[in-house]
Amino acid sequence: MKRITGDAPSGRVASGFSRREFLRGSGAAAAATALVGAGEVAAGAQDADKGDGVARGKITVVLDVNGAKHEVQAEPRTTLLDALRNQLHLTGAKPVSTDPSSGAATVLVDGKPACAASMLVLQAAGKKIQTVESLGGTKLDPVPAAFVSADAEQCGFCTPGFVVAVRAFLNEHPKATDDEIRSGLNGNICRCGTYANIIRAIAIVRGG
């Protein structure tokens, strides 16, 4: 009888890419450690800093989210998505895939679209993070407004990621042609099939 014994192949750890690879790259031996650049960890890395630039254990990080500073507790492996959703209760960005293949966790980091599911909190520290929630509130941004009027949403689970991706795309290409729209937003997946109406929504914001 053939027997297989060993670690159950669970696939991936929470951070989405192989943490083992990451650590091997950083040369750190302990499980929950990561290299941090100077100044990235804004506060309270008491048990983290042994002067070797390696963060360990749980540390307090200040994140600049939607124009306000928030303290979050993070291990080196904690993703930005995890902190936004589970600590700051900003649940617009969605955990659809652990890598950036779905686009559902798209946020703006220093104005550029980024995947919060594959970015560590430590990488996000000191940067300006904007989530989909910043486009809502009392004054609705034209992008989500156009998503509503074009009905560019069904179940809505992919919608926040799409809204942020479209916002970023139009910031860069305010006069995008139809062809540019169709080739510039292929980083997001919708399962319900709202693409046709998303194209309409983008055209509404672009005008013409």
Binding site: K2, R3, I4, T5, G6, D7, A8, P9, S10, G11, R12, V13, A14, E75, T78, D82, R85, N86, L90, T91, G92, K94, V96, S97, D99, S101, S102, A104, T131, V132, E133, L135, G136, L140, P144, A145, F147, V148, S149, D151, E153, Q154, C155, F157, P160, V163, R182, S183, L185, N186, I189, C190, R191, C192, G193, T194, Y195, A196, I198, I199
Partner: protein, 744 residues
């Protein structure tokens, strides 16, 4: 006086049939909408399952010691524990598909739960794996097949002393021999997954003996009892809620064993627990659609009308068997003579779940392709063949409606101008273009639904219904129905859905929801209005039978002076809200509010690169009837979505399983190919709502338009190439293989 339920005429309708914005649109577009995955109560434990890595194995031992000691891990729940039976013999669970959860770890963070899972040690005994669902002979040899039923229908009957099977064999061969045109074809469609973007899962919390569940479900009213039965608590002590669901498509009707386990862990730890499947688990376990493969010989007369159909088809619904039902073969078309037989194959893959329009997309894709091959063989126009064969159909919709829809679709596609015989179109470099079509049907009868309605003395209106919104726009539909009934703005109606504490409403499956909630809300609305009318009539000293509610006023339908504002009318209720509960039971006869049975015609225009094998959608037209339209914008969205899901299974997605290990090789979104925004071409939707169809009332729309795309797109590719690419999805490799085979 009994209220006579009815819809206003098209010309009189103020709200019905308009393009009202989705009421929860802004909440969804700005992240304010809270899905199950978004609920993060205080002291939440994050749970994650360990999936079985083998397609078929026995579990000899599960050691969770290291997992329990992992930092942050609070609880480990073993689902498949080997044990010793009463007879002293070991009982070792047999796992029949990869991904099946063996144990669940609950921890303080998601990362800690993942680390705990990685520390579980399992001893497996691998067993034989069988996953090939396409090779029927091999499946028979491996004893993996079972009969899936069949039927023989012949115009001639056997003599009294004749063996029926022998007669059928002889008669089918005779008909084929006499046919003017014969097609021998092979067609297939691979298994796909539901791939909900929000995976299956729940957040469970106990308050004493009461269980509160946020569940990603399309069955709010039906899952509370599933939890109650499994956990041995009173159904009334379980509260299931789902305000928003991130995709279901037929896969989220059940509490599921992982939902029950989530509640058990919450009980054991005394803390709220969230357990969502991981992405790969969602694809492996969350639901898949059975495959279908069909071999056929069909014969047709000189006009291209099919006179005889002789097919066998097979496929797999996974480890529990199952196959596309023979009753839908050939799809919609039903020649006067046919013989069809189905065979189910058991594979080491997770059991299938209902996938949007169960069986129909596969049946359409593997049989209407044969009808198109008849056009190819005859050098005839496919539209002509599809139209002529309307003489013999078995459908929920009438042939005249299909004919009318074909005319509309052909016009929108400019079919006549674009058409060329199969493989005879002009080439631009290596790119050739083609047209294809398909027709479909669905029942879409309204489901059970109850609605409790309160009209308050201040004029506000709120409704309560234990339904859910899969993304169709259920809230908006309910509000529109009540707004139409009371003559008030849509925004002024407060619709409450998504709780098992509300009056029961059916699961959202089979295109039953919009019909069901339209029934219950219209009935409740009309009942309430009748009561209000009596009070208003008394005050205005008019006949209650003449009272109408429109444009924000209630009163005489003939005399504007004898009316009052909606608010004023409601204030006559005194201090107590008017409360009405109305009920609709599925299948109620003679209801004027909802109907059943739709058809639809789809036409695809594609470009195929003969060098790379890449298929691009150029244009895709869908003409669809659905009875009475509540919200034109939302209805169009449903059709758009179905067309894109259809493009997905026609050109991109499939489950790829390793034949040696049974492992689902592409169970991540980076590998499980779905269309992107740039892949859809131009979509054209025409909602066919002549008075004859509208008069039938509301009929479900979710399923029907997802049925035709496989056949329509395959037929378009065949028209472009002159060669049939037999199996969907039509990936570049399959296109190139088919071209190479045709050349050889």
């Amino acid at each position: 006086m009994a209220v006579e339920y009815s819809w206003p005429k098209k010309a009189d309708a103020k709200v019905l049939g308009t393009e009202h914005d989705r009421l929860d649109g802004a909440a969804k577009a700005t992240g304010a909408a809270k899905y199950t995955y978004d609920h993060t109560p205080a002291k939440l434990l994050f749970a994650r399952g360990l999936g079985c890595p083998h397609g078929h194995c026995r579990i000899l031992d599960i050691d969770v010691t290291a997992a329990e000691k992992a930092p942050g891990v609070v609880h480990v729940h073993v689902l498949q524990k080997p044990r010793v039976g009463d007879d002293g013999k070991p009982i070792q669970p047999e796992i029949e598909w990869e991904g099946e959860l063996l144990a669940i770890v609950a921890a303080e963070t998601e990362a800690a739960a993942a680390e705990g899972v990685a520390k579980i040690k399992v001893d497996f005994e691998p067993l034989d794996v069988f996953v090939d669902d396409e090779d029927l002979e091999a499946a028979e040899k491996a004893k993996r097949t079972s009969k899936g039923g069949g039927k023989v229908q012949l115009e001639k009957e056997p003599g009294d002393d004749e063996d029926e099977d022998e007669f059928a064999e002889k008669e089918v061969n005779r008909l084929l021999g006499e046919a003017k045109h014969v097609v021998e074809g092979y067609y297939g469609i691979r298994p796909i997954t539901h791939c909900c973007l929000e995976p299956h899962g729940s957040v469970c919390a106990w308050d004493g003996d009461k269980l509160d569940v946020h569940l990603s479900t399309q069955n709010v009213s039906g899952t509370d009892e599933q939890f109650a039965n499994a956990l041995k608590v009173a159904a009334g002590d379980v509260h299931v809620q789902c305000q928003y669901i991130g995709g279901g498509f037929g896969s989220k009707f059940a509490a599921d064993y992982w939902g029950i386990a989530c509640a058990e862990i919450a009980k054991a730890t005394g803390r709220p627990v969230r357990l969502m499947l991981t992405r790969d688990q969602e694809l492996k376990l969350g639901g898949n659609r059975p495959s279908g493969y069909l071999k056929v010989k069909l014969g047709a007369d000189e006009n291209g009308v099919v006179t005889v159909w002789d097919s066998q088809h097979w496929g797999t619904g996974g480890a529990r068997g199952g196959v596309v039902g023979h009753g839908v073969i050939p799809y919609v078309y039903r020649p006067k003579n046919y013989r069809r037989v189905a065979t189910a194959i058991k594979t080491n893959c997770a059991p299938s779940r209902a996938w949007r329009a169960p069986d129909h997309p596969q049946a359409c894709a593997i049989s209407q392709t044969a009808y198109d091959d008849l056009a190819r063989v005859m050098g005839a126009d496919s539209l002509d063949i599809f139209r002529k064969n309307l003489a013999n159909i078995e459908s929920n919709q009438k042939a005249e409606v299909y004919a009318a829809e074909m005319d509309i679709a052909a016009k929108l596609m400019d079919w006549k101008a674009k058409w060329h015989p199969h493989g005879k179109g002009p080439a631009k470099g290596s790119v050739v273009e083609g047209l294809g079509m398909a027709i479909h049907t669905w029942q879409g009868v309204a489901g059970n639904s109850n609605c409790m309605l309160r009209v308050h003395p201040d004029g506000s209106v709120e409704s309560f219904c234990g339904t859910q919104d899969l993304g169709t726009g259920t809230r908006t539909v309910c509000a529109m129905v009540l707004a139409e009934t009371f003559g008030i703005p849509v925004e002024s109606v407060k619709v409450n859905i998504g709780s098992s504490k509300y009056p029961e409403s059916g699961p959202s499956g089979g295109s039953t929801t919009v019909g069901g909630v339209s029934e219950s809300h219209r009935r409740a609305g009309q009942e309430a209005l009748a009561k209000l009318a009596e009070i208003v009539a008394k005050k205005l000293e008019i006949d209650a039978a003449t009272v109408v509610a429109r444009n924000g006023r209630v009163g005489s339908k003939d005399d504007d002076a004898k009316t009052m504002s909606w608010k004023e009318a409601c204030s006559l209720l005194g201090h107590k809200a008017l409360e009405v509960t109305a009920s609709f039971r599925r299948g109620a006869e003679g209801t004027p509010l909802s109907g059943a049975g739709v058809g639809g015609v789809q036409m695809a225009h594609v470009a195929v690169d003969r060098e790379t094998g890449v298929v691009r959608m150029k244009k895709f037209v869908a003409v669809q009837d659905m009875g009475l339209i509540i919200n034109r914008k939302l209805a169009e969205s449903q059709v758009h979505g179905a067309m894109i899901m259809g493009i997905a299974y026609a050109l991109f997605e499939e489950r790829i399983t390793d034949p040696e290990t049974g492992q689902f090789l592409n169970a991540e979104l980076a590998d499980y190919k779905l269309p992107r925004l740039g892949d859809i071409g131009e979509l054209v939707v025409e909602l066919y709502e002549p008075e004859s169809e509208r008069a039938r009332g509301v009929i479900g729309l979710g399923e029907p338009p997802v049925i035709g795309p496989g056949a329509a797109i395959s037929n378009a590719v065949c028209n472009a190439l002159g060669v049939r690419v037999p199996v969907l999805p039509l990936t570049p490799k399959r296109v190139l293989d088919a071209l190479a085979k045709a050349k050889a």
